[in-house]
């Protein structure tokens, strides 16, 4: 995580301790550095503070705390020594005050906010003069005092423009500890111990400015332990369909004492897995996973990109006009996006830029690859697009389906729709996977849909071959392929077997993975030893799989276990040869979401299906022909 040195923390100009004096009203008792805040009472006080020697215990404590932490060198090392002297010799504060002759402001101007009426006590109060901001936490303690209450405030003075949000907890805590001391031992109100406040203020001033942390023992039981934490804005909410991408080497940072969810989640952040898939892979609760990702985002060690699918669409952003000339873009791009194979020539930047410029909304990555022969160039398309997204000149174009109201009824279509849905209702959903695709699944699914896993050349070769074949496909095949494109059909949890040499073994692995997935839905627990480590399955389960436990529960009609790839496949092969493709019916919850405000990544994640399945649903809902020419009938899809 970034060190706090990266962030700018405002410098404390002055720290002062003020009380309500029985005779004089509000007055500053001690201030560090001396003499910066004027006022009739203040001048007297500074005298007072100089003459009163701080209690020895505090001085000793300060010395101790100075020695213990090994701190990086900073400009205040000098003042460090000076401060030690100051707590021992009396005249030192004087010296400093004389050297800085400036006066920040007059105490009388702000005294009513420093020692305010009771209503403001116990609240954080920030007031401002022309050039400075004063933050304090006025405290009013009822008790056995002369006026039945004791009122004090420890205030910090900053430049007017300073952002004080990181100091708010500091001010509260100082008040809390001092209040406790006062309640326990009249630390503040007792004339014997109150001079120690001066040393405390000094240490606050020096340590917080120099090291952003401090440890001030006050008595046997109380101490002020402070650390200023750097301030980062909260990240936007994490969505299930976002893909976290590490900006640093996360695995090197994982420590044993990390939160367990976090360390589990971190292992699956590879720029390919999306949040809900990480939750599954890491076997973590989806909400906890979101929080973990959000935490990493907060520290800016990851960023999020979109799920890579060959059905995705991208478009250039206007930034490209500047970024295309930047060295960090044009020099890094080629090596990053090319698959590393011996003898492969890295395409030059004009070529790459040309390819980027031909990514358009309305054109899927697959179509783009085919048109421009991207394949031959040895470009890893996932890295190619994510490079553009990361650098900020490429933008994912989402599909936003919208269901038009029925003003032009087309009975034909409607009937067909109802027929198809009833038909699929009749058949057990578990076996109603898009059948026509099944034989094709084996070859395409993993390869054409999902991001090639980096560093596994076999997989990439797979992709290559599959792509070549599809590029030759004609119209009918095109449509079928399209259905199989991203993710599997109805149930993404089931990954279909890839066409890979290690088929049987993989199958076994996969089954156990499926079991491990389903285990969260039953009380049955798979022995962990049987669960392959995610990295080992990564190749076979490259089908993006989007599950969330909630929505899974919403579909009890699709039993998990029966969907184990081997079973569904065999069943499909047995039973489906003759019958045409059928669809599981579109879930009724889908309809209200087709208002043009939910994009397909969101819908796919929500319903745990891939785009081909969703596409079929949309065709069914809209009553379109869906022949791969984008006829969705009443459903219009806006790309934006």
């Amino acid at each position: 995580m970034p060190s706090e040195g990266d962030t700018f923390l405002p410098r404390i100009q002055s720290v002062f301790y003020a009380v309500f004096d029985l005779q004089k009203g509000p007055k500053i008792v001690y201030q560090v550095p001396e003499g910066l805040i004027t006022g009739s009472t203040a001048s007297q006080n500074s005298n007072h503070s100089v003459t009163s020697s701080p209690s020895p215990s505090i001085a000793a404590a300060i010395l101790e705390s100075d020695v213990t932490p090994s701190r990086r060198s900073s400009p205040s090392v000098n003042s460090h020594g000076g401060r030690r002297a100051s707590s021992l010799n009396v005249p030192s504060p004087h010296q400093r005050s004389s050297s800085s002759s400036r006066v920040l402001f007059n105490f009388d101007d702000i005294s009513k906010y420093v020692i305010p009426p009771g209503e403001l006590c116990g609240r954080l109060v920030i007031c401002a003069t022309r050039k400075y901001r004063i933050i304090g936490f006025p405290v009013l303690l009822p008790g056995n005092y002369q006026r039945n209450y004791f009122q004090y405030n420890v205030c910090f003075v900053f430049e007017r423009s300073a952002d004080l949000s990181c100091y708010e907890p500091i001010v509260r805590k100082v008040s809390r500890v001092l209040t406790a001391c006062e309640e326990e031992s009249f630390f503040l109100s007792c004339p014997k111990s109150s001079p120690a406040m001066h040393a405390i203020l000094e240490q606050l001033y020096e340590d917080l400015n120099s090291y952003s942390e401090t440890s001030i023992p006050i008595d046997a039981f109380n101490s002020i332990e402070l650390k200023i934490f750097p301030f980062y804005p909260n990240p936007p909410p994490v969505k299930d369909w976002q893909v976290p991408l590490a900006l640093i080497n996360l695995s090197k940072r994982i420590e044993d004492n990390w939160d367990l969810t976090m360390s589990k989640v971190c292992r699956h952040i590879d720029g390919v897995n999306h949040v809900s898939r990480i939750a599954h892979l890491a076997d973590c609760d989806i909400e906890l996973t979101r929080q973990a990702i959000s935490h990493l985002l907060y520290y800016q060690v990851i960023m999020t990109v979109d799920i890579f699918q060959y059905s995705n669409m991208y478009t250039l952003r206007k930034n490209v006009q500047w970024l295309a000339d930047e060295c960090h873009v044009k020099d890094e791009c080629g090596p990053y996006v090319t698959k590393h194979a011996p003898g492969r020539v890295v395409p030059d930047w004009p070529k790459l830029l040309h390819l980027y410029s031909r990514l358009k909304s309305g054109k899927t990555v697959l179509e783009w690859m085919e048109t421009y022969n991207v394949y031959e160039l040895g470009i890893d398309v996932r890295r190619f697009t994510s490079f553009g997204v990361i650098k900020g000149f490429l933008r994912r174009v989402h599909r936003w389906p919208n269901l038009l109201p029925v003003d032009v009824p087309s009975p034909n279509r409607r009937r067909r729709q109802s027929l198809s849905s009833s038909a699929s209702n009749a058949s057990p959903t578990s076996s109603s996977a898009p059948i026509g695709e099944i034989p094709r699944f084996s070859g395409r699914l993993d390869t054409s849909d999902v991001a090639p896993i980096l560093g596994s050349p076999i997989n990439q070769m797979e992709v290559t071959r599959a792509q070549q074949r599809t590029s030759a496909a004609e119209k009918v095949l095109e449509q079928l392929r399209f259905k199989t494109l991203p993710r599997t059909g109805p149930n993404p949890t089931m990954r279909q077997p890839p066409l890979s040499p290690e088929g049987p073994e993989r199958n076994h692995e996969r089954r156990s993975r499926v079991l491990s997935d389903t285990r969260r839905h039953s009380t049955y627990q798979q022995p962990t030893s049987h669960v392959p480590s995610p990295s080992s399955v990564a190749g076979s389960q490259s089908v993006a799989h989007r599950n969330s436990s909630e929505s899974q529960n919403a579909f009890p009609s699709r039993p998990r276990l029966s969907r184990s790839p081997s079973t569904s496949r065999t069943r499909a092969l047995i039973s489906q040869g003759s019958s045409g493709p059928t669809n599981p019916p579109p879930p009724p919850e889908l309809l209200p979401l087709l208002d043009g405000d939910h994009h397909t990544d969101e819908l796919c994640t929500r319903f745990e299906v891939g785009w081909p399945q969703l596409q079929q649903w949309l065709v069914a809902i809209g009553g379109g022909k869906g022949d791969g020419d984008g006829d969705f009938g009443r459903v219009s899809i806006i790309y934006r």
């Binding site: 952002d163 509260r172 909260n234 250039l316 909304s361 919208n402 405000d597 790309y639």
Partner: protein, 745 residues
């Protein structure tokens, strides 16, 4: 809009003490208390996450519930609680310390405790109004400057002003300039001479005006109360910038006018009297505070102004208020609230470049921050927005109150408004109206944009042959937009909005015929109708115009060709010189002969003339990075040859061409800025024109400076003064060397 604004208060101070004279809205919803430390979410709190993770089951919810009961207690202790919730009544003794302001609060403490109606008058943000008034009337020293007080999560901001110590209201020249807009404050602080001049003019004013005497008013303070935004929702420093902007645009400006009117006519005091007596009347009658608040609108223009201001800020409109018959238009930058939220991805488009772009200076300071305006350039167009009838500029301009001498000006403006069209660029407008672009057109445009009556858009083709894409985000849900669209365009020939958008967005995938006419309109008869559709969508920011950008690519073949030509020339020349030199034998034998026999090996270092030697290190510095070793040999060689060549022939035109520098490779590359092309790049550019028609070559030479990928087609056409057809011709002929991009500008 300032979503955080909670209320506007008018606080006064007199000898009788401070008092909240008026506030709007009458009842303020209390903001939720916020914690300064993170608090585990109660609903998902799990004390033993590892255990839970390892024993995950479907009935986790039951578990969570059992945990909850324990958790609530813990949290009770953990959470920081507001003092008001726990404070007992006896703690508020210090209230008596505040001098009771008799004037407007006749009811005493006891009555307030029991009487809910009186309570309404007296309670404000969990405090008594009196107490707050005391806090909001600062010491005299803190008057006439920006005031800021933060109490927990309430921010009070304003600009308190007070009478002189002798009780007179007078302009304080060093701080005040009547009627100045918010920007004046900064201006004056930095500008001493200005300060003096304003002092002079003001003191003149003060003496000439007969000053009405005020009787009781010491200080007044128009306070804006905000809910402190969660600082963690935005980048550091943004919250301060946010409040600064509101202070400058609203608080300072209104206070300036009020102060002026108070000085000139004791306006504020009279208004406060009116409101005060009304309040007393209502309180005595026991009527509700809200009734008083609405009645006060009728008796006081300050009260009305405060209400209008609040409503306008909340609805992010322009506030049109009237103070003592002085009309005032106030507004906040439309994108101000975005400061408070972390940037979303699509918003990054606006971050960065425009900020220091020279074009943004054309907008002026008022319009530069939080407006997110496109550049004000001659090739853009003006889109007039629908405005309220009463504020219609036509009505104002045609109104009878326009003076005769202004009549001509008004007519010019009317003509301007009538001419303005999205199909007409600002430059064309200027020439049509015979106005000067910078001194007449731009100021008018600025005014219209600032008053939200127009916006700058990309010029739309007359025949709608413009390429659009759909904005990534809509302000309203699509369903709402669809309904509005249906209402405005009921014609059956027009597709429903979603279909229309789907068609537009799908069209981008095509390489040709992707413009609006080809994809949507398709019939010339419908152009005028669809013109309205385009306007409708542009007004709602639904459409983004895509622009053509061009870049020049030097291909490997071209580079090879150029290098070959150069080498041939060098060889010719070298042999020629050698012959000459041998004849004259001016130089020593060494190297020269070798250079001829082994032109790839010899490096005639020693033969550098002083001039060439001077140039040599300079060039190697230019070239920057060192090249891989395998090429460096040839680079040096070529350079040496080059130098050798120049020794005898200075004016060959080959000087300073970066032969052999790092840019002289055979790899295809881009000429990032052809306008400032290096000599070598110029050679490549020239080589591109080989074999082309002369007129095309000349045009290419003329306009290739705009092919830097940053200029839009519109800009190129405007700057180069060529037609679209001519540009297309060049693009066609130089297809091989040009890359085109279609993206938003």
């Amino acid at each position: 809009m300032a979503e955080t604004l909670l209320a506007i208060l008018l606080v006064t101070s007199s000898a009788k003490g401070p008092n909240v004279v008026y506030r709007w809205p009458p009842s303020v919803e209390n903001s939720n208390p916020r914690l300064s430390r993170p608090r585990p979410p109660v609903d998902v709190l799990e004390l033993d996450n590892p255990w839970r993770a390892s024993h995950y089951s479907d009935n986790a919810n039951d578990l969570a519930e059992t945990h909850m009961e324990v958790a609530v207690d813990d949290i009770d202790d953990y959470a920081w609680r507001r003092p008001t919730e726990s404070r007992d009544r006896s703690m508020s003794f210090s209230r008596s310390a505040i001098p009771p302001s008799g004037r407007d609060s006749p009811c005493n403490e006891e009555r307030r405790e029991i009487d809910p109606v009186a309570n309404e008058y007296q309670c404000l943000f969990d405090y008594t109004a009196q107490f707050l008034a005391g806090m909001l009337c600062p010491q005299r020293h803190l008057c006439h400057q920006k005031f800021e007080l933060v109490i927990d999560n309430l921010v009070f901001a304003g600009h308190p002003v007070c009478a002189e110590p002798d009780g007179m209201w007078r302009f304080k020249p060093e701080r005040y300039k009547p009627g100045s807009r918010g920007r004046g404050s900064r201006h004056r602080e930095s500008n001493l001479p200005d300060k003096e001049s304003s002092e002079v003019s003001l003191s003149g004013d003060t003496h000439s005006t007969a000053m009405p005497k005020s009787s009781w008013l010491h200080m007044f303070h128009l306070v804006l109360v905000f809910d402190l935004p969660d600082p963690s929702s935005s980048a550091s420093g943004n919250v301060a910038r946010y409040f600064d902007t509101i202070y400058e645009q609203i608080a300072f400006t209104v206070t300036a006018v009020l102060f002026q009117e108070q000085v000139l006519s004791n306006f504020v005091e009279l208004e406060c009297d009116a409101i005060g007596s009304l309040e007393t009347e209502y309180m005595v009658k026991g009527e509700r505070f809200s009734d008083f608040a609405s009645h006060a609108q009728r008796v006081s223009s300050i009260a009305t102004a405060m209400k209008n201001l609040y409503d306008a800020i909340k609805s992010s409109n322009m506030a049109h208020i009237t103070l003592n018959d002085l009309p005032l238009e106030l507004q906040l930058p439309p994108y101000l609230d975005h400061l408070l939220h972390s940037e979303e991805e699509f918003e990054l488009e606006f971050v960065g470049r425009l900020e220091n772009h020279t074009d943004s200076q054309l907008w002026g300071r008022e319009l530069s921050f939080g407006w997110r305006l496109p550049a004000l350039v001659p090739w853009k167009s003006l889109l007039l927005l629908d405005t309220d009838q009463e504020l219609d500029p036509y009505v104002n301009l045609r109104g009878s109150h326009v003076h005769a001498e202004e009549r001509c000006l008004a007519e010019g403006l009317i003509k301007f408004l009538e001419t303005a069209s999205v199909t007409l660029s600002l430059a064309d407008m200027a020439s049509l109206l015979d106005w000067d672009l910078h001194s007449q057109v731009y100021p008018t445009v600025r005014w219209l944009v600032h008053h939200r009556r127009a916006k700058i858009v990309d010029t739309v083709h007359n025949g709608l042959k413009t390429v659009f894409s759909i904005a990534p985000k809509f302000d309203k849900p699509l369903a709402t937009l669809t309904a509005e669209f249906k209402r405005d365009f009921p014609q059956p020939s027009i597709l429903p909005l979603p279909t229309l958008m789907a068609t537009i967005s799908n069209s981008n995938s095509k390489q040709a015929d992707n413009h609006f006419f080809a994809t949507v309109v398709q019939s010339k008869d419908l152009i005028s109708l669809y013109h309205e559709v385009v306007l409708w969508m542009l007004k709602r920011d639904l459409l983004i115009t895509l622009h053509l950008h061009v870049r020049v690519v030097t291909t490997a073949e071209l580079k090879f060709h150029v290098r070959q030509a150069h080498e041939r020339k060098m060889e010719r020349r070298a042999s020629h010189h050698l012959r000459e030199r041998r004849r004259s034998s001016r130089r020593g034998d060494h190297g020269v002969g070798d250079a001829h026999e082994h032109p790839r090996v010899t490096m005639p270092w020693l033969s550098l003339s002083p001039k060439a030697a001077r140039r040599y290190p300079r060039r190697s510095m230019d070239s920057g990075q060192s090249k891989p070793s395998d090429i460096s040999g040839s680079i040096l060689l070529e350079d040496a040859e080059d130098v050798f060549d120049e020794i005898s022939e200075e004016d060959s035109g080959e000087e300073n061409v970066g032969w052999g520098s790092s840019e002289d490779t055979l790899e295809p590359s881009m000429i990032s800025d052809p306008g400032t092309a290096s000599p070598l790049e110029r050679k490549w550019l020239a080589a591109m024109s080989e074999g082309k028609d002369e007129y095309i070559a000349r045009r290419f030479a003329l306009i290739n400076q705009y092919f830097d990928g940053k200029r839009t087609d519109d800009e190129i056409l405007y700057t180069a003064e060529i037609s679209r057809k001519q540009l297309r011709e060049v693009l066609h002929h130089y297809e091989e060397y040009l890359q085109t991009f279609l993206h938003p500008a």
